[in-house]
């Protein structure tokens, strides 16, 4: 076990290292960036340009810059944002809680919708309910998530109004500006972005939950449980559901990239001050250090979650061994 973990950990580090080289090379080859802002300035002389390039270390070759970046990273320094001049890692840390709130709530809502519906659909396979749910789920999976967000805004912020004429639900930000920040206000701002994320991803999870449950309820041990005369409730919840949830646990771990992608759209559409929005702005302005830091942290999280899935799987399903 320890051997296996160590090997996987070293592999993960290697993967991350390769990714950092690829991403760095890629970003360094993007034209524009910090220099683009100065290009327009007619007073800029060649000397000025060289001075600024030297200041940001842009006069060195890409491999050199990579080694400097790597060296600084080893000291915990991710570089400063070209735009705000603050440390890139600080920019991310400031926005991380906002993203965690949004994604966390959306994720819990997703599972609360998907698991019961998926289980119920499976238990009533081919019923009217099952047909309706599988149709809705396929439609949900086909929905472009950003368009769904726009529709939600049209419906709840443009067409539907409060009695005083204000939009029924706010369509941007985390809190109403100029007013004291309250929990109720935050919840109101969460409704639309969470709906957007949760309904679309619930569609996928529901389909997996349904098929996973269908597979399990035809297993011998479920028949045995029934044969022992256990009440149906116990059979479903203690014997079937617990086993059906194992593949879902894996899915959650492997789904992280699409969760990040969802954050990018939601935070951009709803002006949610999170990491997705930060990255979008950084990409617009070619803010290398912020782009680099966000990509590396996300890649590390994805790799970590894949590793975690493998390890957790062996605990959940003793039939699988790690050799």
């Amino acid at each position: 076990m320890a051997d296996y973990l160590l090997r996987r950990f070293v592999q993960a580090l290697f993967t991350l290292f390769v990714i950092s080289i690829i991403i760095f090379a890629l970003i360094s080859s993007v034209p524009g960036g910090i220099m683009a802002a100065y290009e327009e300035n007619p007073d800029m002389t060649q000397a000025d340009r060289e001075r600024i390039e030297a200041k940001y270390g842009l006069n060195k070759s890409v491999p050199e810059r990579y080694l400097i970046w790597l060296g600084n990273l080893a000291k915990g320094d991710w570089g400063n944002s070209f735009v705000s001049k603050r440390p890139a890692i600080q920019e991310i840390a400031d926005r991380l809680p906002n993203t965690l709130i949004l994604m966390g709530v959306a994720f819990v809502v997703t599972l609360l919708i998907a698991i019961p519906l998926g289980v119920y659909s499976a238990l009533r396979q081919y019923s009217f309910f099952d047909h309706v749910m599988t149709t809705i789920a396929l439609a949900g999976q086909s929905l472009p998530v950003f368009w769904f967000g726009l529709l939600l805004i049209i419906l709840f912020s443009v067409l539907l109004k409060q009695p005083n004429g204000a939009p029924l639900l706010p369509s941007s930000g985390m809190y109403t500006p100029g007013v004291e920040r309250t929990f109720a206000d935050l919840v109101r701002h969460l409704v639309l972005p969470v709906t957007m994320l949760a309904l679309v991803s619930a569609a996928g999870y529901m389909r997996y939950m349904r098929s996973s449950m269908l597979e399990v309820i035809h297993q011998d041990y479920v028949r045995t449980a029934r044969g022992k005369g256990l009440p149906e409730k116990t059979v479903i919840f203690r014997h079937a559901l617990r086993n059906a949830l194992i593949p879902i646990a894996t899915l959650i771990g492997l789904d992280l990239p699409s969760l990040f992608g969802g954050a990018l759209f939601t935070e951009t559409i709803f002006a949610w001050p999170g990491i997705g929005r930060l990255y979008f702005d950084a990409a617009l302005k070619t803010d290398y250090p912020v782009i680099m830091a966000v990509l590396m942290i996300f890649a590390a999280l994805i790799i970590l979650s894949m590793l975690l899935v493998d390890v957790v799987y062996t605990f959940l399903d003793p039939r699988i061994s790690l050799s």
């Binding site: 592999q11 993967t15 991350l16 390769v18 990714i19 690829i22 991403i23 890629l26 970003i27 080859s29 993007v30 034209p31 524009g32 396929l138 439609a139 999976q141 086909s142 929905l143 472009p144 998530v145 950003f146 368009w147 726009l150 529709l151 805004i153 049209i154 912020s157 443009v158 990239p257 990040f260 992608g261 990018l264 759209f265 951009t268 559409i269 990255y279 979008f280 990409a283 617009l284 070619t286 782009i291 966000v294 990509l295 996300f298 890649a299 994805i302 790799i303 894949m306």
Partner: protein
């Protein structure tokens, strides 16, 4: 002559007949296929179905609501939305098809080679697949497309959709590769492959003549789903302003400025997205139907 039992007759049907029979049993898949055919006809024959051109501005008729003159209304520059939806579909579908083709070709070759040869080849490609899977795809695409937009690539006009389609495909082959690798591994030890090897067939011949046809079913299904995914990815990128650039319309970039126009002209935000939705759901049903029709387990039932 002895009368054949119905079951025997059934077994005599050609594979194609079995395929069509299974496919037509899946009603929604047929609806999906018909929808796709209609949309492709509309999009390819765009000039036949509209009086306007996609770039013709008419500033006196900005934000006209849907009417008999403008079926889907007009946009912020008075351009006919229906026309732009038709022409935009050309780009959206082309990008989708092209990215899917890139992903399927890369994925199939890598999957075949690593499944068939195994050993260090497999180890290298598996690591490569893992690396690509660990990258936050959409985030990297934002940077990649920024790069491609500003880079001057010989032979490709600026504003062309080719580079975008290629990079979307280049980041989407991993699931195909894993699928093909798994199936190839199972095929490698089968008798017909051994027989081919024994009569002296080269590795290339075994791979492409004997193994590839046998892994084609899962590839076709994966390709359909990949097409839906590529269309969504392109529209998302273009929506964010990082995909195909205006004024060339695509269903994604037609949505990109609509958020500020929602009070005055909500239809500008509704119709292009509806097209993406309809196409993707049609393709997904089509994929479902193909899976049922191509999966031998279903035929046996």
């Amino acid at each position: 002559m002895k009368q054949l039992s119905p079951k025997k007759q059934d077994a005599r049907r050609s594979l194609w007949q079995v395929f069509w029979h299974q496919f037509f049993k899946h009603r929604m898949a047929v609806v999906g296929a018909v929808t796709m055919v209609v949309i492709v006809i509309l999009v390819v024959g765009a000039p036949l179905f509209t009086r306007y051109t996609p770039f013709k501005q008419d500033l006196r008729n900005r934000f006209d609501p849907p009417s008999s003159q403008h079926w889907m209304g007009t946009d912020d520059l008075g351009r006919d939305l229906w026309t732009r939806v038709l022409y935009g579909g050309r780009i959206s579908l082309s990008v989708g098809l092209l990215s899917m083709a890139v992903a399927v070709v890369i994925g199939t070759v890598i999957g075949l080679v690593s499944g068939y040869f195994g050993g260090w080849v497999d180890a290298v490609f598996s690591r490569l697949t893992e690396i690509f899977l660990s990258v936050p795809r959409l985030f990297v695409l934002l940077v990649l497309t920024t790069f491609l937009r500003q880079a001057k690539i010989p032979g490709i006009q600026p504003g062309s959709f080719w580079p975008i389609a290629l990079v979307i495909g280049a980041l989407a082959w991993m699931s195909v590769a894993r699928l093909v690798r798994g199936t190839t591994l199972a095929m490698r030890e089968r008798e017909f492959v051994q027989a081919a090897r024994m009569i002296g067939a080269t590795d290339g011949r075994i791979l492409f003549r004997h193994i590839l046809p046998n892994v084609s079913s899962p590839i076709i299904v994966a390709a359909t789903l990949g097409l839906a995914g590529a269309i969504i990815t392109e529209s998302g990128l273009s929506y964010l302003g990082f995909g195909v650039q205006l004024p060339t319309p695509t269903w994604g970039n037609m949505l990109s400025n609509t958020q500020s126009q929602m009070l005055t002209a909500p239809w500008t935000a509704i119709f292009p997205g509806m097209m993406i939705f309809i196409v993707v759901i049609a393709i997904n049903y089509l994929g479902d139907g193909l899976r049922d029709a191509l999966d031998p387990h279903h035929v046996e039932k």
